[in-house]
């Protein structure tokens, strides 16, 4: 088509603007108005969304004449939360859950660390680790609870056993995968400095693989937290079945999952909601407070975050 139309350049005279207009522009750079800046702040907008949700909830439950037992109002729920915190010892329940969780988490990570070190040192260790994780990672830890109850009886030991299982495999899997994907260059740099054995692992491999280690720790926490709540619910059912006596087993007053189950059985729906709130808050504190902080101080500062 080019040949037919014989397109050609249109040559036109050059020109220069001798004096580019200066400073007539007015605002070259101006701060946005306060309103614009405030609405650009993420926390402000998200908090507004929260407030709107709460108002919608309160209105829906008040105006819709909803059965109190099925769906309590926000104000009832909030009152129940305060009451549970002050009078019913909700803090003890939180502590019971968290102390079990932390115990399991620490032991689980130690076992995972041993497995991963073995995996780094020998090919057999690496094969053993990949086979075990491939097999056991897809197994929901909670499925082991009945077995744990057979072996350890109804109690903290059985819960910790299942928690361990939920932590070890994701942590080991991600750490091992992270180690394996540490670049050859980085490894050679480390060996260039004469590092070997444990110092090599701690000073080169762990920092270099930290993004995936952190991912593993996060998934491990998420699985463990879910497993713990589920285990407490199952315990609740088990205790109801066998003795009909609430709070008789599982230490002093049981954990958060237990409290939710118990309140539901007693038709204390506002307290069930209050329990759920607590679970959410604990989750947010650990995920956004703890892990987010670790992430900010490490991989974010080092510019290593994956997404």
């Amino acid at each position: 088509m080019a040949d037919v139309k014989a397109i050609s350049l249109y040559i036109r005279p050059e020109f220069e603007n001798p004096a580019v207009e200066k400073a007539v522009v007015g605002d070259i750079e101006r701060r946005l108005s306060v309103w614009e800046r405030v609405s650009n702040m993420d926390p402000v907008r998200k908090f507004t969304v929260l407030v709107v949700l709460v108002v919608a909830w309160e209105l829906y439950t008040r105006l819709g004449s909803i059965n109190e037992l099925m769906f309590p109002t926000f104000s009832k729920t909030f009152a129940a939360l305060i009451d549970a915190l002050v009078n019913a010892g909700l803090l003890i329940n939180i502590w019971n859950s968290l102390s079990l969780l932390v115990t399991g988490y620490v032991i689980g990570i130690s076992i995972a660390a041993v497995l991963v070190v073995l995996g780094v040192w020998t090919r057999f260790g690496s094969d053993l680790l990949t086979t075990l994780t491939a097999m056991l990672n897809p197994l929901p830890a909670i499925a082991l609870l009945p077995l744990a109850m057979i072996w350890f009886g109804l109690g903290n030991q059985a819960v910790i056993f299942t928690l361990l299982h939920s932590i070890i495999w994701p942590v080991a899997l991600n750490t091992h995968a992270g180690f394996q994907s540490v670049s050859e260059t980085m490894r050679m740099v480390g060996r260039n400095y004469g590092l070997k054995g444990l110092p090599y692992i701690c000073k080169i491999l762990i920092p270099a693989a930290f993004p995936s280690i952190l991912t593993g720790l996060r998934i491990g926490w998420a699985f463990a937290w879910r497993t713990l709540i589920a285990a407490e619910l199952v315990f609740g059912g088990q205790v109801m079945d066998t003795s009909g006596q609430l709070g008789a087993e599982g230490g002093s007053a049981g954990g958060l999952g237990w409290i939710i189950f118990q309140n539901q059985m007693e038709n204390q729906t506002p307290y069930v909601f209050a329990g759920l709130f607590t679970v959410i808050i604990v989750g947010i504190v650990i995920e956004n407070g703890l892990f987010r902080n670790v992430e900010d101080r490490t991989i974010r500062k080092w510019g290593m975050q994956q997404s």
């Binding site: 350049l9 249109y10 220069e16 603007n17 522009v25 007015g26 750079e29 701060r31 650009n40």
Partner: protein, 283 residues
């Protein structure tokens, strides 16, 4: 290819005499502002220029002169706060396939499509082709033009940077837009590849005489690639001059005229004493 390019200047000068009826792109008094989280920034101030058919129109300026912003406005991604841009007489309001853009970044190809699919996807979704077969034929034609046959079924991640840019150019040309927009397309390439790509672009232009609006911060590239150069001042960007460069190409690099034009532009830009590293003999 270089042998063809050599004749470019002379041929143009003789055959181009009469003024075409209307410009393809008419930019009139365009001021563009954009917002960051905290600030409102004026990128360009009352910019006028006209691009005619078959122009290799280069916008040249130091970084911060708003040249990329201007190009994005022409593409329809940004809206000017005053002034108007008309493409063949109709005002530009939003992005569209009549102004295809070639970006600097290598990730402009859809990584989930092969080289050929990247072009056919554009043809089919841009409304240029209705049938798959037609799109395939056109795609293959342009893949051959940028000498990437054998790679048509390759995914972009297997290609080198230069090859990716070639696919992007082929994609842009296959769409046969009214104007092809190029935003520093060769800036991320190594010097040798960049020169080769410039030569190929000029050869392609010889072939189809497409209209292109090309943004760069390299004076040399502007003189080689451009037939007409718009020079902008920085912060906010304003038109400083419009110069002809149709007589220059790789073949004339050693000649006096080339160096003269280069230093003329250099002085113009540095008259403002804005020392921008990028402008100093880049490329």
């Amino acid at each position: 290819m270089p042998s063809e390019v050599m004749t470019t200047g002379a041929a143009d000068a003789t055959s181009a005499a009469s003024k075409p009826n209307a410009p393809i792109l008419d930019v009139e008094g365009v001021t563009i502002q954009y917002k960051t989280k905290e600030h409102l920034i004026t990128a360009t101030y009352r910019v006028d220029f006209q691009v005619f058919e078959a122009d290799r129109f280069v916008i040249l300026g130091p970084s911060g002169c708003g040249k990329s912003t201007l190009l994005k406005a022409v593409a329809g991604y940004l809206h000017p706060v005053e002034g108007e841009m008309r493409l063949n007489g109709t005002s530009v309001t939003e992005p569209g396939p009549d102004r295809v853009m070639v970006f600097q970044e290598f990730d402009q190809l859809l990584p989930w499509k092969t080289v050929k699919e990247n072009i056919t996807f554009a043809l089919l979704n841009g409304g240029r082709c209705a049938s798959k077969n037609e799109a395939n034929d056109i795609a293959m034609e342009y893949i051959q033009k940028v000498k990437l046959d054998r790679f048509e079924d390759t995914y972009p991640h297997m290609l080198s940077g230069g090859m990716k840019q070639r696919v992007a150019i082929a994609r842009g040309m296959a769409m046969e837009p009214a104007i092809l927009l190029m935003d520093e397309p060769f800036a991320a390439l190594d010097a040798l590849t960049r020169r080769q790509m410039q030569e190929e672009l000029l050869a392609l232009w010889e072939d189809t005489k497409f209209t292109v609006l090309f943004v760069t911060h390299s004076i040399e590239e502007a003189v080689i690639v451009g037939s007409r150069i718009l020079i902008m001042s920085p912060h906010p960007g304003q038109v400083k001059a419009e110069l002809n460069a149709h007589d220059h190409s790789h073949a004339t690099i050693g000649e006096d005229g080339f160096a003269e034009l280069q230093s003329k532009i250099h002085n113009m830009i540095f008259a403002d004493r804005v020392l921008e590293d990028e402008v100093v003999n880049h490329g």
